[in-house]
């Protein structure tokens, strides 16, 4: 599934960049992350718990930040497996200055495997969008603090 969108954050581009490169922030901002442990240069082991209505899944996986071009571009790769299925997502983020604010453009693909894939397809695009929105809302809040 292709994902793309743009979020406006009331933060400077440098601030957004810093937030995105702070593992603590990433851990708090990414929906469902319970633990995030460094596992190499820009690589983390993560435990996620995601709930959507009655669906609840626990995933163990990795988060990786790649292709960094400070302060504007990076690629975020998330891979997780759990009893309800697996998720592999890769997204390119581009930060664009817009006055005092920053536009974050994202574009990528998300692949879902297992039960989630065969039963949840009508919900994917909505789920992904909701999770992205939550992530950026959380990022904004982190930046405000």
């Amino acid at each position: 599934m292709q994902l793309s969108g743009t979020h406006r954050l009331a933060l400077s581009r440098l601030r957004v960049w810093q937030l995105l490169n702070d593992p603590q922030v990433l851990a708090r901002a990414t929906p469902g992350v319970k633990t995030l442990v460094r596992d190499g240069e820009d690589r983390f082991k993560a435990e996620l718990e995601l709930g959507l209505g009655p669906v609840r899944g626990v995933f163990a996986g990795q988060v990786e930040v790649r292709d960094k071009q400070e302060p504007s571009d990076l690629t975020l790769r998330v891979e997780g497996n759990g009893s309800v299925g697996g998720i592999r997502a890769e997204g390119k983020l581009r930060l664009e200055e817009a006055g005092q604010e920053t536009l974050v453009h994202y574009r990528g693909t998300a692949l879902v495997a297992g039960t989630l894939a065969s039963f949840g397809s009508r919900l994917f695009s909505g789920v992904a969008r909701k999770l992205a929105a939550e992530f950026f809302e959380n990022l904004q809040r982190e930046g405000n603090e």
Binding site: G51, L52, G53, P54, V55, R56, G57, S83, V84, T115, L116, F119, G120, S121, R122, L123, F124, S125, G126, V127, R129, K130
Partner: protein, 290 residues
Amino acid sequence: MFPGEFEYHAPETIEEALDLLSRHGSDAKLLAGGHSLIPMMKLRLASSQHLVDLKNLKSSLSYIREENGDLAIGALTTHTEVEVSESLQQKAAPLAEAAGLIGDVQVRNMGTLGGSLAHADPAADQPAPALALEAQLVAQGPGGRRTIPADQFFFGFFATALQQDELLVEVRVAGLGANSGGAYLKVPHPASGYAVCGVAAVVETDGGGNCVKCRVGVTGISDGAYRATGVESALEGSAISADAIAAASAHATDGVEPLDDYFAGADYRRALAATYVKRALTTASERAGG
């Protein structure tokens, strides 16, 4: 398929049910008709440690009453009961019509109005008429009851204004009066029967062919049911005509980002929403009698 393990509770009273919710927090799930939850449990997509079965509350939460022209519907009233209710057919047609288009006979025999609204599946039918009829949703929690207007109830994707320790107990709608008409029309997914697009429309006229009030609830299009306020304001105050309705319907997805899946992409959903808003408004206007 085969659900995982859980602890089962069948409280005898609303208070007991609320107490279980308070005690177990997010580990508890409410079971009304079960037709959204049990399939998920069988697939092991949903797993809760505590299942709170509301079947014993049926006697107190299953009713359709008329009170001063208003209609009060118990949350555990089944879709079948809503579908065949003469008072709902006459005074809240979109709700009865939507009930008759949910799933199939067997699902309607078990599924409940309250369960459907509280579950807030983005493709569920009943949120649309609830929005169009400006339903008031009555929730009961540890501190008593509160009333939530439908347009402040749905927050997208399976999310509602209900708190973890609250139970939806009643749905209230003002009955449609003279010069008012309503309708619910839907495009079901050919396999699941869920709404790819569902539109509930209510139109009130001045008796002279002008629209004085219009409410449109849309489901299936976005990550949650919504009121198409752009459509409403475009039609309100104007003379009802095919052209006016068509022009208003063009606002069906204003400010909405449609869902996008292989069966119906975002562009197609936009087109469907506009067409079905038009058709629902047309039927509602005809029923309003000019």
